[in-house]
Symmetry: C2
Subunit: 242 residues, 2 copies
DNA sequence: TCATGTATACTACCATACCAGTATGGGTCA
DNA sequence: TGACCCATACTGGTATGGTAGTATACATGA
């Protein structure tokens, strides 16, 4: 029964742009949801968001629909829209798909990567290690994302990466929560290194198993997070985005 | 410079339903596009579709946006919306992702499937063989879709199947084109049988390679189709949905 | 004949208005 | 006191109006 907290949390929309307003609203809302500005379970009103951002309801509505497709928002007609709680089941499902796709990608990378591309990957690993040393978690998350993306793009798997991007949204809030902790980032860099080593050795099987190990890392922190932040999680037995 | 052909091709929207109009419009348009009622390259206007279906422009617009996300429609602001041509590149990319996901699914199925589920699959195989005997291609396509879906759902891979569904849209128009031909449907049933045999033998590797072989079948007919229907294909060197 | 400027008829995007359905809170009555 | 009813204030879904930008046909001129 809490009152409005006077905590808009939404950055104003850049008006000097010819990019469609709806897309900018979508990006801003997604950012706010993934970074926990809007908490799971919280209601979000088209009208309210429109007023806060200084736009009409129309583009906000389009953004809402896209967020619902992405599984971040539950639109209940004539009732309201709500930030969906984190579902362990959905995180598992997303991770399953991501693992399948990225394993196929690294197998291709191991088969096709050029020495020049491998050099680029090794440079990226160095940057990641630097970020870890500097304890710059936000920077590391950006580099991590770029690392996976660049592997995919290097072998022309643009569409596969797009699928991964859509899929990993379900995992991003978990990553955000675990970022605050002193996650063992060094281990992640080691895992990345193992992946690149296998790619450099043109060893598809090795690259696949290294990637699998890496992507299962998220499972380790999930139970603890669920215990620490029970209000953010959906504990239903069976669910999905209806 | 062709005139309106007086070929609406759109079935009227069922008005006695409380399902959102926008969703029904989306489904109808997707059906029309995938079944080549609207040809690749053809322009589609919000206003025109709204008039034909007897609804307002608003739900049509929402359907357009979803079609654009699905990669079936290209919205060019202030210019118009166009059915995207079939892109060999996109078909390849979609097939790559689909193969990755479905291989992971069958591996799980081979590990977890119960005798009862395997019986169900064998029954499905019989029905497929019957459809082939009856030369009922449409029926076979439905059974084929259900076959892949049921394998995924049987091991709880609901989300993975959703991803496959979104991905395979790019391949559906190709399937529609090849359906008209006397495609060797019997071979597809054989491949399905091989998949189930491996699942029944609890042989993940065998199931994976059987699934891979099966999903690469589409590649065989693609070059010929591109030659026969050049106008339906996009021959650009590099592209994607912008 | 051909290049160029311009009027016009589109387009999708955004804003606004209206509608049907739902949650809620307060008042009424048993 | 408690169960019920209804007014009210929301919600999202749909319809419609207005605007900026683009393509095209056509007139104009060299």
């Amino acid at each position: 029964m809490e009152r409005d907290q006077e905590r808009p949390g939404l950055r104003p929309i850049d008006m000097d742009s010819n990019e469609p307003v709806a897309r900018r609203v979508f990006r801003e809302l997604r950012r706010a949801i993934v970074s926990m500005v809007f908490l799971p379970g919280q209601a979000l009103s088209e009208q309210e968001v429109a007023t806060q951002l200084g736009v009409s309801r129309q583009p906000v509505r389009e953004a809402f629909i896209k967020l619902a497709d992405a599984g971040l928002l539950l639109i209940r007609p004539q009732r309201g829209s709500f930030i969906v709680k984190i579902s362990v089941r959905q995180v598992f499902d997303a991770r399953f798909v991501r693992e399948a796709v990225e394993m196929a990608v690294v197998a291709r990378a191991a088969a096709e990567a050029t020495p020049r591309q491998i050099d680029t990957f090794r440079t990226a690993l160095k940057r990641q290690a630097d970020a870890v040393k500097a304890r710059d978690n936000v920077r590391f998350m950006e580099l991590d994302e770029a690392f996976h993306r660049d592997i995919a793009l290097s072998v022309g798997c643009d569409y596969a990466w797009r699928v991964v991007e859509e899929t990993k949204i379900q995992m991003d809030r978990v990553r955000y929560l675990s970022m605050a902790d002193a996650t063992p980032l060094g281990r992640l860099v080691d895992q990345h290194t193992a992946i690149i080593d296998a790619i450099a050795a043109h060893d598809p099987d090795g690259a696949q198993s290294a990637m699998r190990t890496h992507l299962r890392e998220i499972l380790t922190s999930l139970p603890e997070l669920e215990k620490r932040f029970p209000a953010l999680f959906n504990h239903d037995v069976g669910d999905a985005v209806p």
